[in-house]
């Protein structure tokens, strides 16, 4: 690339595109058209989008351009983005990756969508995902798997696999995702992009189709921490429609990006570097820590002694909540309904058997079992107690260190079909991310290197509402490295 020539639009970050729009280098309509063309060209290969909203995108782009001419543009005005298909979008199919909602047109906007619309962002379409956000490889989607732009034989991670692949392949400069056990961070890691799961309660869940309500949290996925800061600043904030949303001012994430790292204490949980971690991934993480030390940070070993309990606790709590959350999909009012039900029970059982895929059914059954009379104390209550232990581990750790770092996932992207028949191995893919959701903490994944052609993600975990610090710590690393600038060759 000629360093003096301006980069192609799709190669630019949101911050750069925002500056370009402000400088009049291109219009939102041009920008939107460029991304729509890329989507049209590449989506058949990647399957990152379930729905492409070209027409409304162009209308939004034109409106953004008008707004800019009127001098009322903000940093996201005219910036094209994609929404994970878990967010309700008024008048647009919102499938949640499921046959159950294949023909469901949402009658309202999710708060996240509404906020980004209000900021003038342009929706390119709805991205593919594991069905009802249940999966770590995007292979449970009714719309078929998404492919990893770095290697089309590899999975993009999940459940926000479509968003991650779209950003990695430069089909969108940013996207929304949701994270219940790692669903933003793990696909961000596997696709070589940056994504942050905010503190539970930072981003409204209104209009975000629930998987596990006490764990679900929406967040941004983009190429850089700076772009995530831009998106999160708009997405976050109090929403009276979500009782679990916290009424607390949203800091200026962008303004905080450049704080120096001198004196920063990074904790490395020894439990995150033990058995099960791919040694090549470990080396990448260690190299990243070396980089942090040159940036002035100090790294210390810490312990999160209850880490090994996170996966078992999660696979009680999340299925339990999902078994209840997904009960509304009964074929009565909306969503898939079986043909010619002979009675009420038949309507329920066939509609749900046909509408839900096997992983969703598995989790509903596990969850219903865990909540049933006689088992509640042994499973659900016990899991809730473990959550407290895990939170306490983090609480103690943050008395010693400012942020916690480690691998986002124990391996790089695995091949399509490799783990699909082995749920336990698949679940282990989220071994480092799940505890963060159980504790409700913010976590971020950023690209830190490669193993072969496949990206490695570095996870940063912060204390409650420390998103600003996490974005700052990630941004300083990205100022010093260029892993986040790498583009998959096939999508350059």
């Amino acid at each position: 690339m000629n360093p003096s020539a301006p980069a192609a639009m799709h190669e630019q970050t949101i911050a750069q595109l925002s500056a370009g729009l402000a400088a009049g280098q291109f219009s939102s309509a041009e920008l939107t058209r460029a991304f729509l063309e890329r989507i049209e060209h590449s989506n058949p290969q990647l399957n990152a989008f379930i729905t492409i909203t070209a027409e409304s995108a162009l209308a939004q782009a034109q409106a953004a351009d008008t707004r800019r001419r009127q001098g009322q543009a903000g940093p996201l005005t005219g910036i094209p983005i994609a929404h994970k298909d878990i967010f309700c979008t008024h008048g647009v199919r919102t499938s949640c990756g499921s046959r159950m909602l294949d023909r469901f047109i949402a009658p309202y906007d999710a708060t996240v969508v509404e906020r980004l619309n209000t900021a003038g962002a342009v929706m390119l379409g709805k991205t593919n995902m594991d069905e009802f956000a249940m999966g770590s490889s995007n292979e449970t989607s009714f719309y078929g798997p998404v492919r990893n732009p770095w290697d089309l034989n590899a999975v993009p991670g999940g459940s926000s696999g479509g968003s991650a692949a779209a950003v990695a392949a430069r089909l969108a400069p940013g996207a929304t995702g949701t994270d219940t056990g790692g669903s933003i961070r793990q696909p961000a890691a596997l696709c070589g992009i940056t994504g942050i799961k905010p503190t539970y309660g930072r981003v409204s869940r209104w209009g975000m189709i629930a998987y596990a309500s006490s764990l679900d949290q929406g967040g941004p996925m983009a190429r850089t921490a700076e772009d995530c800061a831009l998106l999160l600043a708009t997405m976050a904030g109090f929403d009276p429609r979500d009782s679990t949303c916290v009424d607390r001012p949203v800091p200026d994430y962008v303004a905080g990006l450049n704080q120096p790292l001198a004196g920063l204490k990074i904790g490395l949980p020894k439990e995150y570097f033990g058995e099960g971690l791919d040694s090549a991934v470990a080396q990448v993480v260690e190299a990243a820590m070396a980089e942090y030390r040159t940036l002035g940070a100090e790294t210390v070993e810490i312990s999160l002694p209850n880490s090994q309990l996170a996966i078992p606790a999660y696979y009680v709590v999340a299925p339990a909540e999902c078994s209840s959350n997904l009960a509304r999909f009964d074929g009565v009012r909306y969503g898939h309904r079986c043909e010619n039900p002979k009675d009420l029970l038949d309507l329920y059982t066939r509609s749900r058997a046909e509408g839900f895929g096997s992983e969703v059914q598995r989790r509903i059954l596990v969850g219903a079992f865990a909540l049933s009379a006689g088992y509640y104390d042994a499973y659900y209550l016990k899991a809730q107690q473990i959550r407290r232990l895990i939170s306490n581990d983090f609480h103690r750790a943050f008395e010693q260190v400012d942020v916690i770092a480690g691998p986002t996932s124990p391996t790089v992207a695995f091949n399509l079909g490799e783990k699909v028949d082995d749920p336990i191995t698949m679940y282990l893919s989220d071994i480092y991310t799940i505890a963060v959701n159980l504790a409700g903490l913010p976590g971020l994944s950023l690209p830190a290197g490669f193993v072969g052609q496949r990206p490695v993600g570095l996870q940063l975990i912060g204390n409650y509402f420390a998103e600003e610090r996490l974005l700052n710590v990630a941004h300083r690393y990205q100022q010093a490295t260029n892993w986040h600038q790498r583009t998959p060759a096939a999508f350059a």
Partner: protein, 478 residues
Amino acid sequence: MEWETVIGLEIHAQLATKSKIFSAAATAYGAEPNTQACAIDLGMPGVLPVLNREAVRMAAMLGLAIGAQIARRSVFARKNYFYPDLPKGYQISQYELPVVEKGELIIDLEDGSSKVIGITRAHLEEDAGKSLHEDFHGQSGIDLNRAGTPLLEIVSEPDLRSAKEAVAYMKKLHQMVVYLGICDGNMQEGSFRCDANVSVRPKNQSQFGTRAEIKNLNSFRFVERAIEFEIERQIDLIESGGKVVQETRLYDPDKGETRPMRSKEEANDYRYFPDPDLLPLIVDEAFIETVRASLPELPDVKKQRFMTQYGLSSYDAGVLTASRPLSDYYEAVVAALGGEPKLCANWVMGDFSAFLNKDGKDIADSPVNAAQLAGLLRRIQDRTISGKIAKDVFEALWVGEGDTDAIIEKRGLRQITDTSAIEKVIDEVIAASPEQLAQYRAGKDKLFGFFVGQVMKLSKGKANPQQVNELLIEKLKG
């Protein structure tokens, strides 16, 4: 063998909030199906509940009124089951930690004694919608207008020992929630309905018998009949060697019997767990004190006050304090008249209540307001008219013939108190009845009444009765 009945009631009172317990949709009754159901009530994907503060305030009002503890922290749980009129596949209800615990209500028994009935708990929950099976050939319609309507489920201790006690308790609670203004009390519309847990045991046995739960009783009469039937059924069953099974039963008012709905074995496992969409409900002292300060005078206290302040009998005070509007009306009449509380009580309980009843009107719609009634009573008090004539004036007031004085004037009802005028009438009567006069003077005292009657008749009821008496005695002496 002698049997003892043990009854506990679970009463669902629909709270009189404007909007639903977890959404902003209206709660008004009787709208077109599904016009009062928003995305939240429909259980659309991605919607979330937000608790209605007013429902909490109302629950706290009841709690304070029955001397209960208001939980500083209570928790909403999900009760999971599938039913077409339950949009989310779960009902949000309080389970382990209800907002109100340990209260009591004093009921009056027929023998004049009273009894304390314990109230275990009262918890907030949402109502379900309605399935409509008529008008849809081979299919069912679903109306979700009622879905999400706030309910307070009030659970009594098993302290009730007869159907009559159960009804007395239910009536007392009904009076309380209506007094507090937290429930419209309309039983026909289902705003106040009851499930009854009924069991029997040999007298003097401390252990409870196996209970049956009778669902959805929506009138006092049905509660009484259903429980009576159930007691008899259980006793007959046990005495003929059978065993009561724990089950849910339905009361059929047409046949006057209960019959099984589902047994315990078939009962749902509701898989309760705390609703992760709602934070625990935290209630602070300041809130409770605000609610306490807003409590109206409660029925029992008001009844006592009526007895001491107005010198009324327990019965009269009870009738007049049965509802807030009635007691307010009564007090307004007394205040406007400036006294004569017994006269006011007789009129409010008598003609006034009778006319309301006859026309099926509420006090709020009464054509005769308190000031007007007091105006009428004033004319009795100052002897302008007699109590008997006042009844006619009241009827005229009721149908809107104008105010009391105008009616009296127009109809010429003013009482005659002029002695010479009354004497004139008496003279006329005596002159026209020589035979009776002779008999009277011969000692037939009973004929005095005849003369009074004739005088009143001739004066069209307007002659002052007391004066008529006095003057007649003199005149008849001759």
